[in-house]
């Protein structure tokens, strides 16, 4: 199968698209961090293939797509994925809901780092709405986890 060579990249590209897809303004602030979730899954599952380097590249993609100063999302993304990659053996043994809590913590770290960098550059205020994605990411993690695990096993991505 050819597709298994591209499974990782395709899933991350799909996540990028979900991340930038226009949504009604009411739903928009609840949008989960798709890219972070998918990257986290691959980091925990195949830390030899996806780790800090890939996170940096896709963080840069996010910066270009979202129009933020280059480097902000790549900084936060590399940091979070580093923490996951350094502890992948422990995290793999947790149940899915425990992982969801860890992902929630990682997602809030990610948002706080992005906010902090933006704050240094433009001094914006903090609004609690900025942290809604943390909650939705936590709830969506088990489904992402099951979906990607199924894909990985069926295509036997290594």
């Amino acid at each position: 199968m050819r597709i298994r060579h591209y499974a990782i990249s395709l899933s991350i590209l799909a996540a990028l698209m979900l991340q930038i897809m226009p949504l009604p303004i009411l739903v928009d602030k609840f949008r989960p961090d798709w890219v972070l979730l998918v990257l986290s899954y691959w980091t925990l599952a195949l830390p030899t293939r996806v780790n800090v380097g890939i996170a940096f590249i896709y963080g840069l993609f996010l910066d270009i797509l979202l129009g933020t100063t280059l480097g902000i999302h790549s900084f936060a993304m590399s940091l979070v994925i580093f923490i996951l990659a350094a502890n992948y053996q422990r995290l793999r043994n947790y149940s899915v809901w425990q992982q969801a809590i860890i992902i929630g913590v990682m997602s809030s770290l990610y948002h706080l780092v992005v906010f902090w960098l933006q704050h240094l550059l433009t001094d914006i205020y903090f609004i609690f709405d900025y942290l809604w994605p943390v909650v939705t990411s936590m709830f969506i993690w088990p489904w992402i986890f099951l979906l990607l695990r199924k894909t990985r096993r069926q295509l036997s991505v290594k």
Binding site: P22, V52, G67, S74, S78, F82, F115
Partner: protein
């Protein structure tokens, strides 16, 4: 067994490299103007992704257009016809007044106001980054769009072009935290600067003394002083004034007249001193 990171630099070194590279990029992106060209290429490179991400919305639009009932179309058509009637009547008067104004200005020896060139653009994507208010439109360098170009909707000023890619460009909304626009109160020509608050429905007027004559409901027009926005387009309406004597200036909040949360079609303006001219494709020109 496939051990972790058997080859290449260790994990911590990779992290350090990634962080240092991010910081260098940030510094370069902020400090160097020449970097904009690189950014333009990068944006053009990823624009297919944006087009694909836009597809579901487009498909929904398309389907809803297909399945609208005839009755609805008739009603809409009647509305548009009535609107057109009113507009063309207003236009007749405007042409007359414009002529008269030009003559009077010529008599006074002041420069005649030139006409601005326009082009309609369509919204492609809205950024979901909560820290900045930017949208992407479907016109770019090949249509003659330039950086700093004013963008309007049917009600008033929306923002200005921030980055230009070859087929699309990015617009910074007036409500963005980093944006400010010089304005003038229609009622009494008081000048001020309206800066974005980071919320779509609020602009803040900076450094306005307590004694300044501004009231709730005042309409603010662009004053044309910054040489970015042309003079005389509506920007916002004053919605709240708070006088706190412990503060040196009054707190004045204004609501943008453009509906920043429901943009669909936009108007690009080319001022007379624009660095580029609009490129209209032959088959579309009427």
């Amino acid at each position: 067994m496939n051990t972790l990171f058997a080859r290449g630099p260790s994990l911590i070194n990779r992290l350090l490299l990634a962080l240092v590279m991010s910081m260098v990029l940030m510094a370069v992106d902020i400090k160097m103007d020449g970097f904009n060209a690189v950014r333009m290429y990068l944006s053009s490179l990823v624009s297919p992704l944006q087009y694909i991400a836009n597809l579901p919305g487009e498909m929904l639009n398309w389907t809803s257009q297909r399945i609208t009932t005839q009755q609805k179309l008739v009603v809409e058509n009647n509305q548009l016809r009535a609107e057109h009637m009113r507009m063309s009547e207003a236009l007749q008067r405007v042409t007359f007044l414009e002529n008269e104004n030009a003559k009077l200005r010529a008599l006074l020896g002041s420069p005649v106001r030139p006409e601005v060139k326009k082009m309609v653009a369509e919204l492609m994507a809205v950024d979901n980054d909560p820290y900045s208010h930017q949208i992407v439109i479907n016109k770019g360098a090949i249509d003659g769009v330039y950086e700093g170009q004013p963008v309007l909707d049917e009600n008033g000023i929306v923002g200005q072009v921030l980055h230009v890619a070859s087929t699309n460009s990015r617009v910074l909304l007036i409500s963005d935290f980093t944006h400010a626009i010089p304005i003038r109160v229609v009622r009494n020509d008081v000048r001020a600067i309206a800066s974005g608050s980071g919320q779509l429905n609020a602009l803040l007027l900076d450094h306005v003394p307590h004694s300044t004559d501004i009231e709730v409901g005042d309409v603010l027009y662009s004053s044309g002083l910054g040489n970015v926005f042309p003079e005389g387009y509506p920007v916002a309406r004053v919605s709240k004034i708070a006088h706190d004597d412990s503060q040196p200036f009054a707190t004045i909040v204004a609501t943008p007249v453009a509906e920043l949360d429901r943009i669909k079609y936009l108007l690009l303006l080319w001022t007379t001193d624009a660095p580029s001219q609009p490129v209209v494709k032959k088959e579309k020109a009427k």
